[in-house]
């Protein structure tokens, strides 16, 4: 089995249908069906990268050669994924209806909104949960609405009100599905820099299941996709990179509005990094919008913040220290620090293990924080 074969085939699939750069390492890739061992690895990679729909399209167009049985397995995998996606879309309809009934403005994020607004065929965009954004002022009430609608809250905040002040989202479960209730797009400094009010003021919509669902504007969808791809994981995941390329291809972006918010929210370097990753990992020539950010010169603060997200194996601890740096005023910094250093017992139990006394829990927590801080200073 050759891991490189399945890795290259996955990249070929991830860039399918977009303008290729024809990188030498993808020459001839996909012209012959993979052997059995490579196929098993490829199938697993496609599933975990949520690229089965693009693989079906690449196979139908002869870009990805498969044997008959491999093709049948791929279709079966895609059928299972899309059945799940349809039930998630029904969950999105229920969740948005419940929140709107409570007069809480709500925007659909990622998944269904990207599938229906950016991709030429929504079956190319797989997703695994429901993401919605509500205003910070309504966040706690929105959580109660979801619980009343039969969802279970699965996250515990370090202190009451922490997520509303400093966090990104609360996680809920309905049946076997996860619902992420966001109040902002990213954890850490970007939770402060991104103007969530503007996200609501410039919202867009798409039809789903006989209803009109609100979502981010094309410019904000593009920024979110770039942030998710670059700041969400290192190395970046292929699907969010594809999202950024697809949102640009959909052709609805107002460059002036994008440039204005990218500068104000300090995401120019994030978009530049997304352009670079689209080029290198998807083997796609970035479009003029992604490419326009190639030459940006980010500020020192922006560079430091982005680096905290990019550090290999980055954790909440690393974005936490950036967060302290960018929080405006002494009182918010102290409140944040207090929540991180002296969280509630429920949080301690969840995050450091349930055994021993409260003070043992704190000791474990402080050791974790110390290790993170020390590694950061050493540049580990």
């Amino acid at each position: 089995m050759d891991e490189h074969v399945s890795e290259r085939l996955t990249r070929l699939v991830a860039g399918h249908g977009l303008k290729r750069r024809n990188a030498a390492d993808l020459d001839g890739v996909g012209s012959e069906p993979p052997g059995e061992a490579d196929w098993l690895l490829l199938r697993s990679r496609l599933l975990s990268a949520r690229l089965t729909g693009l693989a079906v399209a690449a196979s139908a167009e002869g870009i990805l050669s498969l044997t008959q049985s491999q093709e049948a397995e791929l279709l079966e995998q895609q059928r299972t994924r899309m059945a799940r996606v349809l039930v998630l879309e029904r969950t999105l309809l229920t969740v948005t209806a419940e929140l709107e009934r409570a007069a809480i403005p709500v925007l659909a994020l990622k998944g269904s909104s990207f599938a229906h607004t950016a991709y030429p065929d929504p079956s190319w965009r797989d997703f695994d949960d429901v993401d919605v954004l509500v205003p910070t002022n309504d966040f706690a009430r929105a959580g109660r609405v979801l619980v009343e609608a039969g969802c279970n809250a699965t996250t515990v905040a370090p202190r009451p009100g922490f997520v509303e002040r400093f966090g990104k989202a609360g996680v809920f479960r309905k049946d076997v599905f996860e619902i992420d209730l966001h109040r902002t797009l990213m954890l850490g400094p970007y939770s402060i820099w991104v103007d969530a009010e503007r996200l609501f003021a410039e919202r867009s919509t798409f039809p789903l299941g006989g209803r009109i669902i609100s979502c981010l504007s094309p410019e904000h969808r593009f920024i979110h996709a770039c942030m998710h791809s670059i700041l969400g994981a290192n190395p970046p995941l292929l699907l969010p990179l594809r999202d950024a390329a697809e949102i640009e291809r959909a052709g609805d972006i107002d460059m002036d509005a994008l440039a204005r918010d990218a500068r104000a929210w300090r995401v120019e370097s994030v978009i530049a990094l997304a352009a670079q990753e689209v080029r290198e990992r998807l083997d796609i020539e970035p479009g003029p919008i992604l490419g326009a950010f190639d030459t940006v010169r980010p500020s020192r603060l922006e560079r430091k913040a982005v680096r905290a997200y990019l550090e290999v194996g980055h954790s909440g601890g690393r974005t936490s220290s950036s967060m302290i740096r960018v929080l405006p005023g002494v009182r918010p910094k102290l409140a944040y620090l207090r929540a991180i250093v002296l969280p509630d017992e429920d949080f301690l139990v969840r995050h450091t293990g349930g055994s021993g006394s409260k003070w043992r829990g704190y000791a474990r927590r402080w050791r974790q924080l110390f290790r993170t801080f020390r590694n950061r200073r050493r540049g580990v």
Binding site: V56, L75, Q78, A83, V85, L86, V87, R90, S123, G210
Partner: protein, 98 residues
Amino acid sequence: MSDRSRYARAPAVLWRRVGNEILVLAPEAPSPSSLSPAAAIVWDELETPSRLDEMTDSLASAFDRDPSDMRADLEGILRELERSGMVVVEESVEASGG
């Protein structure tokens, strides 16, 4: 079935294409299901709402079939899709062919 009726995909139905298959989830259905191959062809034809005679002509020509046979088959499929809530019928106020 009236020639003036216009058939359309029910807006509340969620769906995805999987290869040549159409996977659908109607509002009251417990779980997604696949349309039959013939119903999937009709579903594709309903990308824009259409009258029975328009679909008959289009599909009879595409599949090189006798229009009256095609019409009979289509009526059966549309009736089934309508019964299961996948398709809605809009009574057209325009005169047929107008």
